[in-house]
């Protein structure tokens, strides 16, 4: 994920794909973006009860993005939990008889302070078959799948948010990791998958 456009690995603004000369889809179409936001208003309860969250980006896959990040990106990196935003990667198409599936694992990200995981939203890819979020304690002990707790593991066509109503306690030094499975019968290009986490 990049905060700025300009990835050399990803389709830029002015890209144009070949299209058919004839057919039902040869003219411009008009679109609008809609966002429905539900705001909590000041009500009967004191303001102190509201707990603001911050966001983290937890990517999957090898971090092979461009080595030199623009300064603006670096600032944004610092403001998303100090975890890297430059997380695009590619996977080559399988060559028979090798299997056409692949499992990518992101780097383990260590929490510098204890946090309460509230929502994990999967970021999918058309060639991804599944993704899961894992946590390992500071003692390097057993791992647990956080995404399976809410039974909302993202797939290519559906990335429903994984909500922890009471919050999932993540002690300090917890290591988080995203694992994804891919169908590599065709090459994966410029993939950028993982979880956006909201923690308190």
């Amino acid at each position: 994920m990049r905060a700025s456009i300009g990835s050399t690995r990803c389709c830029p603004h002015a890209c144009l794909y070949p299209v058919a000369a004839e057919g039902p889809h040869t003219k411009a179409a008009q679109y609008r973006l809609s966002i429905v936001v539900t705001w909590l208003l000041a009500g009967s309860e004191p303001a102190a009860t509201v707990r603001p969250m911050r966001a983290l980006w937890l990517p999957s896959g090898p971090n092979v993005a461009e080595p030199q990040a623009p300064p603006a990106d670096l600032r944004r990196v610092a403001c998303l939990g100090q975890w890297s935003l430059l997380s695009e990667f590619e996977l080559p198409a399988c060559t028979p008889p090798s299997p056409c599936s692949y499992r990518s694992t992101g780097a383990r990200r260590r929490l510098g302070e204890a946090a309460l995981l509230i929502v994990a939203l999967g970021v999918a890819n058309d060639r991804m078959t599944a993704a899961s979020l894992w946590a390992r304690g500071a003692d390097q002990g057993s791992e647990q799948s956080l995404s399976s707790k809410c039974r909302r593991e993202p797939t290519a066509h559906r990335a429903a948010p994984c909500v922890f109503p009471a919050g999932e306690a993540l002690p300090q030094e917890t290591q988080l990791q995203v694992r994804a499975e891919w169908n590599t019968s065709r090459a994966v290009l410029g993939a950028d998958v993982g979880f956006v986490l909201w923690v308190a």
Partner: protein, 547 residues
Amino acid sequence: MLRSGGPLFEDDEELSLLPRGNLSRRRSGGGGCCQLCRRACVCTVRLGLFCAAAACAVAVALLYIGPRSGTRSKVHTLEAEVLTQRKQLQRLQSQLARGASAPGPNSPCIDRWEVQYPAELDVWNGHSCMWKQMWGQCDKFARQCRRTCGRCVSGSEQGGGEEQEAEEEGEAEEGAAESSAEDAHQAAGTAAVEPESPVPKPGPGPGADAQAARVGGDAESLLQALRAREETVRLGKPGSVLIKPGRAVGRQSQTDANGGEAAQEGDDDDDDRTEEIDGDVDEDEEGEDGEDGASYGQALSAAKTLESARRPASKTSAQPSSDRQNYVAGDSTTVVSAGSECGIPTQSPAASKGLDMGVLATKNFGADSRSYSSVTYLSGLVSMQPGEVHHYQHSVQLPRPADARGIQSYVMEILEQRGSELRPAPEAGIHLKRFMLQQQAPPGSGRGCDTQAVLFAGEGARGAEVTFPHPFVVQPDGDTWHAQLHVVRTDGLTIPLSDARQCICAPSWLETYGSLARIWRPARPGFCGRATCPSALRALWAHRHAR
């Protein structure tokens, strides 16, 4: 390869242009003749091949050149220029309205560059405050970009007066295209704008009735303004696109009464939370579609021509990757080549305005002894041709309701507008790569990352509602968000849909498709697809695609 016969065919790709029969004959030619006869046969075959290839090349060249030549091309070029100027004028007016709307004793709070160089508002290698702010260069360009950089604070700041202005003028002159400046002053002279906030806040009070009434009234005035602007655009009177009192252009395109229907559709689960704004749009926008489609190719070529003329000859496409790296790094002096469809920004800036958001509807309600306000924000129209990729990145305003404590949930959707209908766009027609709203703490503000607000919807998350359990909220600090939208229009493609859903402008894709895109581009809007391409091109396409 036929090296000995001359440089007719350089590699296997061009060999694939030949009919298979010719290839087999070439390989077996002369087998039963004497040496002299064999040489003669080979020469004959080569000559024949050469003639055939030359004839194909001429035919393709005629197809390429024919539609572009003559008066029609000039007319389209002029049309494109008029369209461009019209858009520039509209943008200028919108910016002026926004800038003049800032409250306080130092009003108006504007970016000087916006007035001086309206044609470069979002041109990354021009006088663009948006880009300066994005690249973290506000300290250097604070005086030219006071509004964008948030420097319209103290009264003393403006006290610099003419001395400061003179200095700014001097700086602004550097590297500026003179024609752009002239256009800017002319346009500024025609923009009679009354100060008004382009995106007013929803109702001030917590009362549901009062707030709904106010929003309803705004929607009606917005609808009228929208109709007026569309009528003006349709009539082709750029000089008359003046902002009427009480209606800012920036807002006119932000809302549509029909959006209520769509917004409600996109929010089926919350049908008791969102209210619908009554009203219909009488005017069909099909006419605009046709106009856009007819001038699209010419607009591109005209813009490219202009862009090329402004660029130094020393910087060409010879170093696309380094140019792009520099561009990514925020080097606003970097020049990249025109005509590259993928991998390099062309005449269009890498990010553009176009996502100005307006409040369409607001619904207050109570649940669990708490009060909520569900606000539907709707963007202006985004027009996309088949095969286009749009990437917007700029600031947007999402006005908060009064007394808002934080965001409890959000859902993002892409709607398609057909005439007066506004419905969720088909998944196969447009692909969301990423949508993000983010608030960033300004440098030196003392705010940490803990207060950062992020709303996100990536691939597969279109229409998915993200709900934060109470008492957890996303707590924005202000109404200004940094928006990023990356979408691909995926219907009508001649490549597999799943390919277009990848970021396939990587070097490997460029090698495969890039040159073909350049070959096909001139035929647009009669874009040469697989069904209509000359057989030789189809063979080349198939060969490269299979590789």
